[in-house]
């Protein structure tokens, strides 16, 4: 290999114009121990990239990840909770015909209704009687206006 050629290649290398084959030539040339002193730096760089290419991944990659398992578990958990809420059965809350006290006989029903309405009106009257005191409001304001 002529040194002149290497010189030219190095120039083009720094311009980023060399092909892979040409770079291979340079690599091969600088692999030799005896290169001219002014190319020591370039030799270092080529040695560096060669050395860097030797680094290997020590651990073997695993395809089955813990993350996958995690995702599936969480989906299962959510499903269980959702189904539990959906199908939750509480007998105490179930509507029962007997608990409502529905009366089937007509006359008894009429009596009961009357009784209930009477009770309502009674309480109404009781409440209304208390409203008499509201009149006092008018009395007092009247007096105040008179003083004026």
């Amino acid at each position: 290999m002529e040194l002149h050629n290497i010189e030219k290649l190095l120039e083009r290398y720094e311009e980023g114009k060399t092909s892979l084959a040409e770079e291979k030539l340079l690599r091969k040339f600088f692999k030799n121990e005896d290169v001219p002193d002014h190319w020591r730096k370039q030799q270092m760089i080529f040695r560096f990239s060669a050395e860097e290419a030797e680094k290997k991944l020590k651990s073997t990659p695993q395809i089955r990840s813990g993350k996958d398992w995690y995702l599936k578990e969480s989906i299962a958990a959510i499903l269980i909770v959702a189904m539990g809420l959906f199908f939750y059965y509480d007998p105490a809350k179930e509507l029962n015909e007997n608990d409502l006290g529905t009366i089937t006989e007509e006359e008894v029903a009429l009596e009961k209704a009357k009784e209930t309405l009477a009770m309502v009106s009674q309480f109404m009257n009781e409440g209304k009687s208390e409203l008499i005191y509201l009149k006092e409001f008018n009395n007092t304001t009247h007096k105040i206006i008179k003083i004026d």
């Binding site: 980023g16 760089i45 560096f48 860097e52 395809i63």
Partner: protein
């Protein structure tokens, strides 16, 4: 795609992916984790992988993007701290120590390059990808890649000379 076939495709690329992650993330542990994560990602997308013409370039692209995301995310901002990666190796010869020292300096010089140049240098000078492949990985035009590569190569040499002359970078 079966697990076996997938591993056969990934195994030749995984060291390249690891080296790319190592170049960007610096820490060995982070790089190993990143490689593992990216391989998982690829496995989850295994049905689409078949349709890619160049799986190697695609894997490198995913690795690159993943590592850049890692660097961007706040939780991993501590990854920027340069890890020493101490290892016990038996070095007996003085000259060997010097050489290793120089190579270490080169690693530091490369680490100071902008991310884009760093990645392109890694892809071209270390992994020896074709410009077309690098263009695919980087989503850049081949001419732009040549420019960035040229800048990276010049910067590395200039920094190495500077370091040699003054003992600093």
């Amino acid at each position: 795609m079966k697990e076996h076939t997938f591993l056969n495709i990934i195994n030749p690329v995984r060291d390249k992916m690891y080296r790319m992650a190592l170049r960007l993330l610096i820490s060995k542990e982070a790089a190993e984790d990143a490689t593992q994560e990216v391989i998982l990602k690829l496995w989850n997308r295994k049905d689409r992988i078949k349709h890619y013409a160049n799986i190697e370039a695609f894997a490198m692209k995913v690795t690159k993007n993943y590592c850049l995301d890692q660097l961007k995310s706040k939780q991993n901002s501590n990854l920027r701290i340069v890890h020493a990666n101490y290892e016990t190796t038996n070095i007996s010869l003085q000259s060997e120590i010097e050489v290793n020292d120089e190579l270490e300096w080169l690693g530091r010089i490369v680490a100071t390059l902008p991310e884009q140049q760093k990645i392109i240098f890694q892809l071209r000078d270390v992994e020896q990808f074709e410009f077309e492949e690098i263009a695919e990985i980087m989503d850049m035009k081949p001419t732009a890649i040549r420019v960035a590569l040229s800048r990276a190569r010049k910067a590395i040499r200039e920094n190495l000379i500077k370091k040699h002359n003054y003992g600093i970078t």
